[in-house]
Amino acid sequence: MIKCVNLTKIYGKSDIPALNSLNIEVQKNSVFGFLGPNGAGKTTTVKILTGLMKQTSGEFYIGGVRNDINSVGLKSKIGYLGQDNKMYGGMTAQNLLMFVGEIFGLSKKDREIKAGEMLEMAGLSMSANKKISEFSGGMIQRLGIAQALMGNPEVLFLDEPTSALDPIGRKEVLEFIHSLREKCTVFMSTHILNDVERICDSVAILNKGELVAYEKTEILKNKYSDKLIEIVFAKNEKDINIKDLFEKIKSVEILKSEKSSVVLLPTDMRKAKIDLLNFIASTGIDIERFEVKSASLEDVFVKLVGGTKDE
């Protein structure tokens, strides 16, 4: 449904590409997660694919048709919800959807029916005649998705759709996105790994403009599914320097370290377990949990993107 061929973007006279030769294909009626840390090139990719920005080189196809920045044909196939979801604040939700329906060439009757359906689907029927400027963040996001679906798009692009939402709003929006799979292809850029793990069929991980992984979510997890060891420290162990302590152990590599826990990637599981337990016993560090676990998408992400997080 979406195909990128050597898609590259270089801003101004910069030597470093914001997006370097991206090659991906997204299957029809799937939810595709586009992951990466801030500045990885996710928004740049989405902007190119939605015709908001021109690529420096490369091509992209939506539904088999090659597109570019000013292609009106492209716009009739897509729906888009941007990171900074701005709509006409003075309009009511109903008026906004009617306006979008008009842009897509729907008759007045069809617009009214479709707007009603979208409001119902987004759970905004009761707020149909309320001004958008009076909406909460979650309501705006749901209305943003509803307006993006008004033209029955083949592909729905969502750029960080849940980043500004509270946990309840996030859950609602994710369930909503998940339910769209039967209607269209969803291309969702995010840095929230849990979101991808919950709803995406396949995932691409981007780092500094480079594609570092691109697989079905389960395959990706299995591919990098080295067993990991997670150690959670007791609450009284506030002052330990995890990095210094565990760097000494040669049979493990620190994958992720936080204030009270560490995730370690063993080079040899049996040896690592013995080394770690001996080390903990000899130093007398108080622990709450010592667990051998499978890699989550977050672990895969950290491993691929690199760097440990010290908080």
Binding site: K75, F99, V100, F104, G151
Partner: protein
């Protein structure tokens, strides 16, 4: 559809109402200022113990005041109100909402130009009626036909100022930059009125023609032609610039 939305947005944001009120206020003020100017001058001069003889005001004084107000103060107000017509939407991201929909970028730009055209026509129409009415009421010998033609010249002049604003607003992302450059361009064009050979083909020449009508000298329609070409250039440059703009 885009134009309908643009005009509706002018009402929703209350810009249209504000601008219309400003037009009406200055339209009324022009004949009233002309009417009371001798009284104002004599009261000031008496307080300074100076005697100034001021001839009784005529409709020409009212129209001179009207032309000044419309082409100077109103133009300045319009620059401030509309400098963000595109730039602000680039800044706050609302243009993205439209750009991902199946509409041509040219159509977006044209709808912006047509919306300011609507504002200018509405403003001048109301001003013509209001100012014409009071000038007719206060002064004898007022020639409505000439005033109508003068308003046509003023209208085209105001539209040209608005087109400059839309042009800069479409080129730049910052509404402040767009506003400053529009003002500079407006001043430079106004200054050309000192050189008749140049101003005859520019919006500044339209004002010269208004003044010529009051002096009873011959008027030229060349400034209308020149200004139409100038405005067309503004639209074309906007379309070219906006077609390359990346959100």
């Amino acid at each position: 559809m885009l134009l309908k939305n643009e005009i509706a947005e002018q009402f929703r944001s209350r810009k249209f109402i504000v601008v219309l009120v400003v037009f009406v206020v200055f339209a009324i003020m022009s004949p009233i200022t002309a009417l009371f100017m001798p009284d104002i001058i004599s009261s000031v001069s008496e307080s300074q113990n100076i005697k100034i003889e001021v001839p009784p005001p005529t409709w020409i004084d009212a129209v001179v005041q009207y032309v000044k107000n419309m082409t100077q103060i109103i133009s300045f107000v319009l620059i401030i109100v509309y400098m963000g017509i595109i730039a602000r939407e680039k800044e706050n991201g609302i243009l993205v909402f439209l750009l991902v929909k199946p509409v041509k970028r040219t159509a977006i730009i044209v709808s912006k130009y047509l919306s300011v055209l609507f504002v200018a026509i509405a403003g001048i129409t109301v001003s013509f009626i209001v100012s014409g009415f009071y000038t007719f009421l206060f002064f004898e010998g007022f020639v409505i036909k000439d005033f109508l033609l003068q308003n046509l010249f003023i209208l085209i002049n105001i539209i040209s100022t608005l087109f400059i604003v839309v042009l800069f607003s479409s080129i730049f992302k910052s509404q402040i930059v767009a506003g400053i450059l529009s003002f500079v361009a407006y001043l430079l064009i106004s200054l050309t009125s000192q050189v008749e050979k140049i101003s005859e083909f520019l919006p500044s020449g339209l004002i010269t023609q208004c003044n010529n009508m009051m002096k009873g000298t011959e008027i030229s329609f060349m400034p209308i032609l020149g200004t139409l070409v100038f405005m067309s250039i503004c639209v074309v440059l906007s379309i070219i610039s906006f077609s390359k703009w990346e959100a």
